[in-house]
């Protein structure tokens, strides 16, 4: 699809507000003046485009893309799903980037000092482009839960961070995916920043036995919906487009 129309406005009620005292770090990093509403111009409906030759062959295989002397420890897992827009149209050829902790809940990051060990064979990041149906998939190790300094005994449920571009810069999204059945989900302060329970529930990937590989690994399904573009009934398109 060649995007030409403007985006539907963000449904801000489905997203966390900037200021959420339950997640303490947001308190000093949240703008307090309302956002200025801005009708889309070319600056918002356009955005970066990526091509397959920018990515490496193993970029979407977190089991192998940092394997040095062997494979990483943990539950081998497939994550897959579709990136769609609000109109149900596939968002094709868009860059999806993921990052996560290892099976013990430790990130390969110089600022992470959690006691769980670094896995020498696990980097914890990957990236891929959606196909023409908006479909993406990657293989990884199921991440572990870990504590973080919010309240003194705050723990993050197992999660994978997602970054998605869409077709225009105003669709840019970073979010987190959780795993169905994780008992930490109802206790998490980050999920709790989302006021709409059903919106928060859509961040939980469903166990997908139909996509699992028997005797090898389980699969989870996680679909992502970005803002759609408005139909341009009775109006001219953006100048220049």
């Amino acid at each position: 699809m060649t995007p030409e129309a403007e985006f539907h406005q963000h449904d801000r009620d489905l997203h966390p507000p900037a200021y959420t005292p339950v997640y303490k770090t947001s308190v000093l990093r949240s703008p307090r003046i309302p956002l200025w509403s801005l009708q889309n111009s070319l600056s918002e409906v356009t955005g970066p485009i990526f091509s397959p030759d920018e990515l490496g062959r193993l970029d979407n295989d977190l089991i192998l893309n940092y394997a040095k002397q062997g494979e990483p420890i943990g539950e081998q897992t497939i994550i897959h799903g579709y990136v769609l827009d609000g109109n149900g149209q596939p968002v094709s050829n868009t860059l999806v980037e993921v990052w996560q902790a290892n099976a013990g809940g430790r990130y390969r990051h110089r600022n992470d000092t959690y006691i769980a060990p670094i896995d020498p064979n696990f980097g914890g990041c990957g990236r891929m482009l959606t196909d023409e149906r908006g479909y993406y998939f990657f293989r990884t190790i199921k991440p572990g839960a870990y504590p973080f300094r919010n309240r003194i005994n705050s723990w993050r449920p197992a999660h994978i961070h997602f970054s998605v571009f869409g077709t225009g810069f105003a669709q840019r999204l970073i979010t987190q995916m959780y795993f169905e059945g994780d008992p930490l989900i109802p206790h998490d302060s980050i999920i709790a920043t989302i006021p709409d329970k059903s919106a928060a529930d859509r961040l939980t990937a469903k166990l997908d036995l139909s996509a699992s590989r028997p005797l090898e690994c389980l699969a989870y399904r996680f679909d992502i919906v970005l803002r759609g573009r408005r139909q341009t009934l009775f109006e001219n398109k953006l100048q220049g487009s």
């Binding site: 200025w36 509403s37 111009s41 990052w99 961070h161 840019r172 919906v225 953006l238």
Partner: protein
């Protein structure tokens, strides 16, 4: 989507979540401290064949008590020197630099808090139909720990006073002193043109952020 009679069907957006303190692993792994991909995205985006004046955009991002944040992801999106975006929706009859995507990604430095983008100065971009052209500007998007949903803003150029005064976006901002939060002063350092764009997440000097 196949229409269902008498239903106004629209899929609800996936909610945003904070990028967290380890955003660098996924998006700028070399800043996290390791090499994994052959091809890394960066904040240095204007190759030798790209037309336009070379500039550096740098700045710091302050939290609500004036502390410099040191873990923020910064992305920028801009037109080329002719004022055209490298995207199919921009159908202006202006030249396109095939080697210039117009998108940069970096992070504020863990020690100094400074972010740095090396690019070219964009041209003026056509405005919405019936509106004036937009002054040269660079679109910014910030994500980090403590930011629940990415923050969008724009940087305008301090040496474009005439264009800025006519800009249709700056002019919708009611308070003139708030418009100034988007204008980066120009300086020269060792022959390099530097625009300094400091961003204030909160407080008396809070930067204008957009819901675009």
């Amino acid at each position: 989507m196949i229409p269902t009679p008498f239903e106004l069907s629209y899929l609800p957006e996936t909610p945003s979540q904070t990028a967290g303190p380890y955003v660098h692993i996924g998006l700028i792994p070399n800043q996290a401290g390791f090499e994994i991909f052959q091809n890394n995205f960066s904040g240095d985006i204007a190759g030798p064949d790209v037309a336009g004046q070379r500039i550096v955009i740098e700045g710091r991002i302050f939290d609500g008590v004036g502390h410099v944040t040191k873990d923020v992801l910064v992305e920028t999106w801009q037109a080329n020197a002719a004022g055209r975006y490298n995207h199919p929706a921009d159908k202006q009859h202006r030249s396109l630099d095939r080697g210039f995507r117009g998108w940069a990604r970096t992070g504020t430095d863990f020690d100094t808090g400074l972010y740095t983008i090396r690019t070219i100065k964009p041209g003026s971009v056509v405005g919405r139909k019936g509106r004036k052209a937009m002054a040269p500007h660079v679109n910014f998007w910030l994500a980090s720990r403590g930011i629940n949903i990415g923050l969008a803003t724009r940087m305008y150029f301090g040496d474009e006073e005439a264009a800025n005064s006519q800009d249709p976006v700056l002019n919708i901002i009611e308070q003139p002193q708030r418009r100034r939060t988007l204008i980066a002063p120009r300086s020269e350092r060792d022959g390099t043109i530097v625009y300094t764009f400091d961003i204030y997440l909160q407080g008396d000097r809070e930067t204008v952020f957009f819901d675009a």
